[in-house]
């Protein structure tokens, strides 16, 4: 049985040249021959220490960076991203109501009353009260802002989301709430996630499968239970040992 895919990444290699004035400087490889799939409905964790290329991979998938080799194939349209820092992901010049309606204005398929209705609906899904619509982002707490970011990312109804450390800037209690929210939304809205994190506990709670990355290479991938119970690669064992 072939499962339906939302994303295929095949042999992606990516790097950059050191800036030189007269000629290109030395080449640094950030991603090396990265290959994986994300299946419909799953939350795929991506773990590895910082500087290992996780964010570059995210940027490559979203076409912010062109890979030097390999291909990224999306099977869904308009994938969205949830960022780590809930302070810089919301435009400070506008109210929450405007921020949530803007993706629908850009999408351009709905009239004003329908847009308002969809904003209300999404606000309910992320469990925020109606009063926040007239607030500016700076008037909200970190957890509330991350809920608004999630709502803004989801309001165009994408099927695939990249979440780059979405809870690591939040308090532990708020973290648990947001993780539960993401899980609920996955079921309600048929979402698939690439969930980037350095926190193995969070990955264990949330993800179905996990990729372990080191120095731009995927060293191990598989179901979360398998990886956590029977790690094959040395690096995965080190990571797990460090987390205990």
């Amino acid at each position: 049985m072939k499962e339906e895919l939302v994303l295929s990444v095949r042999h992606v290699t990516s790097g950059y040249h050191e800036g030189g004035v007269f000629r290109r400087g030395a080449y640094h490889e950030v991603l090396h021959d990265v290959t994986f799939d994300i299946r419909y409905g799953e939350i795929l964790g991506l773990v590895g220490e910082s500087g290992t290329g996780k964010s570059t991979l995210a940027r490559t998938i979203l076409n912010m960076v062109k890979p030097d080799q390999g291909v990224v194939v999306h099977y869904t349209r308009r994938p969205q991203m949830i960022f780590q820092d809930p302070y810089s992901s919301l435009n400070p010049a506008y109210t929450v109501g405007w921020i949530l309606e803007e993706p629908l204005r850009i999408y351009g398929k709905y009239d004003a009353p329908e847009r308002k209705r969809r904003v209300r609906d999404m606000l309910d899904r992320v469990e925020l009260p109606g009063e926040v619509l007239t607030a500016k982002p700076r008037e909200l707490s970190g957890g509330q802002r991350q809920r608004v970011s999630i709502a803004a990312a989801l309001i165009q109804r994408p099927r695939f989301i990249i979440a780059d450390e979405p809870v690591s800037a939040l308090d532990v209690t708020i973290q648990a709430q947001i993780l539960k929210l993401l899980k609920d939304l996955r079921d309600e809205l048929d979402l698939s996630f690439l969930f980037i994190s350095h926190d193995l506990n969070v990955v264990y709670q949330l993800c179905d499968r996990v990729l372990v990355m080191k120095a731009g290479r995927i060293v191990e991938q598989g179901a979360v239970d398998d990886i956590f119970d029977h790690p094959q690669a040395d690096y995965t064992r080190q990571l797990l040992a460090a987390a205990e």
Binding site: M64, R78, Q80, D85, A93, I106
Partner: protein, 269 residues
């Protein structure tokens, strides 16, 4: 609306008062500002002539009202040209970077290398002297580089910010990102720059008219009147004092607004 601070309040009050006087001056002045012998020649300030009269017996207060109107209009149009064109250049160079950035900013550097009055002088001599519109155009062009520089930095910094990345992922075009998502967030640097630019424009216009390359009769600006006042300084010192005072108050008021805006910006950041 965010909190007002003392600078902002005082500046708005002073500038508002002057603006009201100037607007009044467009419709009504105590005497015809160009009519001669409405009073005795070189008469000291009195109840009938608040700032006295000049050597032709013209009412100086009426002339200052009209002249301030001219100066205000020139400074405003100059800043409008500089801010609109400068922001457009800054947005394009800061946002897109690359070759556009290099080409436009090196041209910008070249413009900045000349002293602004000298540059305006060159432009005036190309356009033809003696017209207030050419003064506005010349000064406007001179003011573009400073606005371009200030806004370029802001646009370049905000290009990579997460909410702009999000907007791009959602399918917003470059025009929408520049005008709707980034521009409002550059106001914190743009508004103080506009107030500073306005003051520089008032002073630049005054210097040019004082040097005789600005507005010409029958138009009169505060700068032109200062050069008139110089020739009769011993006979009617109140002419220079009245005119100079209005320039100082105008610049001071707008300067206060700029300071207030900057402080308010810093509080938020």
């Amino acid at each position: 609306m965010r909190r007002m601070n003392g600078y902002l309040k005082a500046g708005l009050l002073l500038t508002g008062f002057l603006a009201a006087l100037i607007i009044l001056g467009y419709f009504w002045t105590p005497y015809d500002p160009t009519a001669m012998a409405v009073g005795p020649k070189t008469d000291a300030p009195s109840l009938a002539h608040w700032m006295g009269t000049d050597n032709f017996g013209r009412d100086i207060f009426s002339r200052v009202l009209k002249g301030a109107g001219m100066t205000f209009a020139i400074a405003l149009s100059t800043v409008a040209i500089g801010a609109v064109c400068g922001t457009a250049v800054g947005a394009l160079t800061g946002y897109f970077g690359g070759v556009v950035d290099d080409a436009l900013m090196r041209f910008n550097d070249a413009l900045t290398a000349f002293p602004s009055i000298l540059l305006a002088l060159v432009i005036i001599s190309v356009l033809g002297p003696g017209s207030k519109y050419n003064v506005v155009l010349a000064l406007g062009i001179v003011f573009i580089p400073s606005f371009a520089r200030v806004t370029r930095t802001a646009f370049a910094a905000l290009r990579e910010v997460n909410y702009v990345k999000s907007a791009r992922l959602m399918g917003a075009g470059n025009g929408r990102i520049l005008a709707v998502h980034i521009l409002p967030n550059t106001m914190q640097v743009l508004l103080p720059a506009i107030t500073i630019g306005f003051n520089n424009a008032v002073l630049a216009e005054a210097s040019m008219s004082y040097l005789g390359i600005g507005v010409t009769p029958p138009d009169a600006s505060l700068g032109y009147m200062l050069s008139e006042a110089q020739s009769m300084f011993t006979l009617a010192p109140w002419y220079a004092v009245g005119t100079g005072l209005v320039i100082i108050l105008l610049v001071f008021g707008v300067g206060l607004i700029g300071e207030g805006l900057q402080r308010r910006g810093n509080e938020v950041a």
